[in-house]
């Protein structure tokens, strides 16, 4: 079955009386990873916040699992997704509690919270940091906690806003390898905002280029790179 898991139809966002996202449409199948690639200020992060239902839409519809978002309770929808921001924005508590907190918000049983927290700390290689406070972590460690916190929720849709951009190259490379394997293993559907082509190619099964709020039709990365849809895309890709 290839029914779209996420379908975005003519989504439009205005902020402060200005149009920031002209009508955008695209769809995504379950298990796919879409990379949104474009220069700074292209509207990638705004699109991500709109998809997370955290900023109001002027018009358009988002279908999630075949159901219009407007017909779902916002909290119920937000509890099926997870948002990872560029800066880790960890809470002022221990690593373990940072990962456990969103699980507590969902009212999960204590045993399950403990098991998931332990499991995802191990998967991200941060078990040794469990008791350490978030403010004591390095950039790479903090980003691993950030990813573990989101993945422990076992979200149906993972929204990632440049989670690797602030890291040094060796840390970033290691984390990209780990994260790529985790995405493949869990089959999580994800949308990744990035301005790094290498990162997009490494993680994504679909690639969409964004310029000035406009999203060019996403496609298979190699095809998008071989035949860019616009002169702007060719220029951005250095072709």
């Amino acid at each position: 079955m290839s029914a779209e898991f996420l379908q975005v139809q003519a989504l439009e966002v205005w902020r402060g009386g200005k149009l920031v996202l002209p009508p955008i449409s695209f769809s995504l199948e379950r298990g796919q990873t879409l990379a949104l690639l474009g220069p700074n200020g292209a509207g990638k992060s705004t699109l991500l916040l709109a998809l997370a239902n955290l900023i109001p839409l002027r018009s358009g519809t988002i279908f999630f699992n075949g159901q219009a978002l407007a017909r779902q309770k916002p909290l119920l929808y937000r509890r099926q997704i997870a948002l990872v921001m560029q800066d880790p924005l960890l809470f002022d508590m221990s690593v373990k509690d940072n990962i456990a907190q969103p699980l507590r918000w969902r009212g999960l049983p204590q045993a399950e919270i403990h098991q998931r927290t332990k499991q995802w700390m191990e998967r991200l290689g941060i078990s040794a940091l469990a008791a350490r406070r978030a403010v004591q972590l390095s950039g790479g460690e903090a980003q691993r906690v950030n990813l573990a916190r989101a993945l422990a929720l076992e979200p149906q849709l993972l929204l990632l806003d440049e989670p690797f951009s602030a890291l040094d190259w060796p840390t970033r490379s290691r984390l990209l390898d780990d994260f790529s394997a985790l995405l493949a293993e869990t089959g999580t559907t994800a949308i990744l905002v990035t301005h790094d082509l290498g990162e997009a190619r490494r993680l994504a099964s679909r690639l969409g280029l964004m310029f000035s709020g406009k999203l060019e039709p996403p496609g298979i990365p190699d095809e998008v790179l071989r035949c860019p849809a616009s002169a702007q895309a060719r220029s951005f890709l250095g072709l």
């Binding site: 916040l49 997370a52 955290l54 909290l75 937000r78 509890r79 997704i81 997870a82 948002l83 921001m85 800066d87 924005l89 809470f91 002022d92 907190q101 969103p102 918000w105 969902r106 406070r133 403010v135 004591q136 916190r149 989101a150 929720l153 929204l159």
Partner: protein, 216 residues
Amino acid sequence: MTELLQITLLSLQISGLATLISLGLGLPLGTLLALGNFPARAVFLSLVNTGMGLPPVVVGLLTALLLWRSGPLGGLQLIYTPAAIVVAQVLISFPVVTGLTASALQALEPRLRLQALGLGASSWQMVWLLWREARLPLLAALMAGFGSVISEVGASMMVGGNIRHQTRVLTTAIVLETGKGNFGLALGLGGLLLFITFLVNWALTVVQQRGRRDER
């Protein structure tokens, strides 16, 4: 000695209760002002910030006019009772707690709210998280609120009347003894007031700094 103890306890009861009521009112209102997005928000913030500097004697005058036997709330028969002092002290400390709460929450990283919501927090869970994140400045708001009322004298004198065994608190007792020329007693009472203020703030500071020390 018994009278001194009674005055001290009454001071603590009145100012402690006024601070707790101010916290109950100021924490939600300060949160609304910090996180809300409504048209008159800037006006309300300005009003609260102005209220932070209200002279206690003016608050005393307004409270007295309200509670006076012929005033709008005269039927409650609160004038010259400890309850009247609590009302006046709430009017003094409530803007302090509200303003400092708003300022503490506005100082947090603005995207923290979006991050919490994006991880599935309900609105209440998000607010609770922000209070937790801002717990050090929020405790400072509580200390400032208590400090603003335990040390004020004008309002307590005007609406309490400094009645012996009924509405006499440490600050009004100091004024009385100074007026009578009993400088030694007045100084002793002043020292006691300072000591009590120190003790309360020390306890709150220990709680506040415990969180900070854990971060290291």
